[in-house]
């Protein structure tokens, strides 16, 4: 098992290196750099740019060096926690993004749990009651979640929460806790605000998940061994829980890999609409102002988050299913 985990982590490394190259390319693509536009802006306003400071920053972040060196510089910095300098905020990136990354992790994690909690029973019901009204109704609800853009759902829920409960559901915590260090009250406030974004972000992933649980379980239910179990007089519920359900559990865990990127994507958009204190709004403003180190760090963190999520799901799957462990060993 340990060997499998080590092997799986070593596979992760080239993936991360490729991702970092891709992200670096993207943040380098826009013509010019932040300093140029900044100096232009200052001159347009009739002010003198602080040339020495800018030269210092330029030098520190290697803007006067060729691309590969800058890339190595960037990656090397990230390895010991220096994500670069956010030019718009005049702060090191790690100070700007610190809290937000953790809140993004929290929101994504809770959403994955929510997706599971909903998709699992609903998928089982849909599969065991195939073509019933319940199946059609639940499938339809799933499709609504799939086909309505997240941000519209967010807007509508925000409006109705305000209308019916007099609740302001924007943000992830009460205003007084913004910028405060983590405390018990702040945590409670976050938890109280968390459910709405969770539902909004969760809908699209849940729909896809329900459909796949249903299809997967239906395949298992058609197998001979289920018929045998039923023919021997096993209670339908036991015949369901004991064998086919366990088979489809496998896929349930392996599927995190594919829903996690979708959930993080959805979280970014929803965060903008609900003005959550996660990475979403800041990523977009960073992209708009070409504050590229900040944007690059966000992209890198999100990708890293996904890769870690996949790693966890693979390890969980290996724990659950020895076949995967052994396969991993043999292909090594």
């Amino acid at each position: 098992m340990l060997r499998f985990i080590l092997w799986r982590i070593s596979v992760m490394v080239p993936t991360l290196i490729l991702i970092s190259m891709l992200v670096f390319t993207i943040i380098q693509l826009p013509p010019g750099d932040y300093f140029e536009s900044y100096v232009n802006e200052l001159q347009a306003m009739g002010e003198n740019a602080n040339g020495a400071q800018i030269q210092e920053l330029r030098h520190r972040y290697g803007f006067d060096q060729p691309q590969p060196i800058r890339y190595l510089h960037w990656v090397g910095g990230m390895l010991h926690g220096d994500f670069g300098y956010s030019f718009a905020y005049r702060m090191p990136v790690s100070d700007v993004i610190g809290d937000r990354i953790w809140l993004t992790v929290l929101v994504s994690f809770v959403t994955v749990i929510f997706t599971w909690l909903v998709a699992f029973p609903v998928g089982i019901y849909s599969a065991t009651h195939q073509y019933s009204w319940g199946d059609y109704g639940l499938t339809f609800f799933g499709l609504v979640g799939l086909a309505v853009p997240n941000f519209i759902l967010g807007l509508v829920m925000m409006y109705f929460a305000n209308l019916w409960f007099g609740l302001s559901i924007g943000h992830l915590m009460d205003q007084q806790y913004l910028g405060q260090p983590m405390s018990w009250d702040k945590a409670k406030s976050i938890l109280a605000h968390l459910w709405i974004p969770t539902i909004i972000i969760g809908t699209s992933g849940t729909a896809a998940m329900i459909r796949r649980v249903r299809a997967n379980l239906l395949d298992e239910l058609r197998q001979q061994y289920v018929i045998t179990a039923r023919a021997k007089g096993l209670h339908p519920f036991r015949a369901l829980v004991k064998y086919p359900l366990r088979m489809s559990l496998n896929f349930f865990i392996s599927d995190i890999g594919s829903i996690l990127p979708a959930i993080i994507s959805g979280a970014e958009i929803t965060a903008v609409v609900l003005s959550l204190e996660t990475t979403g709004p800041m990523l977009i403003s960073a992209l708009k102002s070409q504050d590229m180190y900040l944007a690059g760090s966000f992209l890198m963190c999100l990708a890293f988050l996904t890769v870690i999520g996949m790693l966890v799901s693979d390890i969980a799957l290996a724990l659950l299913d020895p076949r995967i462990r052994l396969q991993g060993r043999s292909t090594r």
């Binding site: 993936t15 499709l143 086909a147 941000f151 519209i152 409006y159 990523l283 992209l299 996904t306």
Partner: protein, 391 residues
């Protein structure tokens, strides 16, 4: 014995009968099943697809929507940018058939605007008795059909000197219905163009990986894994942030389609690759090889038809994600910009909750997004089931 064999290199004498040949003469096909056994793959696919009612209905619906998108200038009652300063944020109008018990055909009532100074709101009330009959195939706003042919024929238009805002108007008094119809052209074409880009990339890259195997395959596999592990929306966002603000809206539009397609090919490439791998081992490929067919012919003639239907099905399923992606990008202000109007651009007007509270019809572009995305999903499901008619 010696003269039975021709000299080396000379053709062997052989005899070909010219009597008519019926390949089914020995084993007669069951009566009535002959058409089934002789049907081509395309026909079988169609039969299978026809059984999926929902998919069939979706296909018809989508064909209708695309038809509307093509002839949008004629179908829309107003032009994209015609403003009605007297009717700002006017709510949707109802079509009536009877005026005080008399049948007059489809018409709308004229409207009067009053300002509610307490709430600072415009109130629109119907003027009873002011019947404005809707005209059909009539002359209305001037337009250039596809930017080429000047014309002014519309399918429906309001009465002369009247108004007809069936889905209300926006903050500049522009007809929401017309704008949604014009938006369909952009939103729907983005899906198709994006899928074309990703289709080509997927087939070429996946084909290379599947055909060559080895190092190329390994590299492509890694690349796919990387692209799939980065959340798509942030990546789309950062790519579209690269496009300079100075670009013209049309180039931005093309750029967005390329971006959407550029990140979507991974699933297709994976499908092509795995299909190529598994089909390569089939007996009919071996037979073709033994018959002396070249790799090019084997791939194009024998392998591609085997999985093309699967590819079309999976491409169909990826169209909705592109439409939704464009909507999200435009909504966040990093996608299309006015004057180009897509459903996402229209929805940016609804960014404010107050708009939702007072003018909920601004949210109506969600409905076509919803319907089209659903229809593409069902169509894709049906195509996927039908793609393998022999099962």
């Amino acid at each position: 014995m010696k003269d039975a064999l021709p000299p080396p290199g000379a053709p062997l004498p052989h005899y070909v009968s010219d009597a008519p040949f019926d390949p089914t003469s020995i084993e007669r096909l069951p009566e009535g099943r002959e058409s089934l056994y002789r049907a081509s793959q395309l026909r079988l696919t169609w039969w299978r697809f026809r059984r999926h009612r929902l998919a069939l209905a979706s296909a018809i619906f989508l064909a209708f929507v695309y038809l509307v998108a093509i002839f949008v200038e004629v179908v829309a009652p107003y032009n994209l940018h015609s403003r009605n300063p007297d009717f700002i944020y006017a709510p949707p109008q109802r079509i009536h058939l009877f005026d005080e018990g008399h049948f007059v055909g489809p018409f709308v009532y004229g409207r009067k605007m009053t300002l509610d100074m307490d709430n600072l709101q415009r109130l629109y009330t119907d003027i009873p008795g002011e019947v404005q009959k809707i005209r059909f195939f009539c002359h209305g706003d001037d337009y250039n059909f596809w930017g080429l042919i000047p014309a002014d024929i519309h399918l429906i238009c309001p009465a002369r000197d009247g108004q007809m805002f069936l889905l209300g108007t926006d903050r500049m008094g522009r007809d929401e219905l017309s704008r949604i119809l014009y938006g369909a052209r952009i939103s729907l074409s983005i899906g198709l163009l994006g899928v074309t880009v990703s289709f080509i990339l997927g087939i070429v890259i996946g084909g290379l990986a599947g055909y060559h195997g080895g190092t190329v395959d390994l590299l492509v596999q890694r690349l796919i894994e990387v692209l799939q592990s980065i959340p798509s929306i942030p990546l789309w966002l950062s790519l579209s942030a690269i496009m300079p603000v100075t670009w013209s809206p049309l180039i931005v539009y093309l750029g967005i389609t390329v971006i959407l397609g550029l990140l979507d090919w991974t699933g297709l490439a994976r499908a092509v690759r795995s299909k190529l791998f598994s089909l390569r081992e089939e007996d009919y490929v071996l037979a073709a090889q033994l018959n002396g067919a070249r790799p090019r012919r084997i791939i194009l003639r024998h392998l591609v038809p085997g999985f093309l239907s699967h590819l079309i099905a999976s491409a169909t399923i990826s169209i909705p994600s592109m439409i939704l992606g464009e909507t999200a990008l435009s909504f966040l202000g990093l996608g299309l910009r006015p004057p180009i109007v897509s459903w996402g651009v229209l929805l940016t007007e609804a960014r404010d909750v107050t708009v939702l509270a007072f003018y909920p019809w601004i949210l109506l572009p969600t409905v076509p997004v919803f319907l089209v995305v659903l229809a593409f999903n069902f169509l894709g499901d049906g195509l996927r089931d039908a793609a393998d008619p022999y099962r």
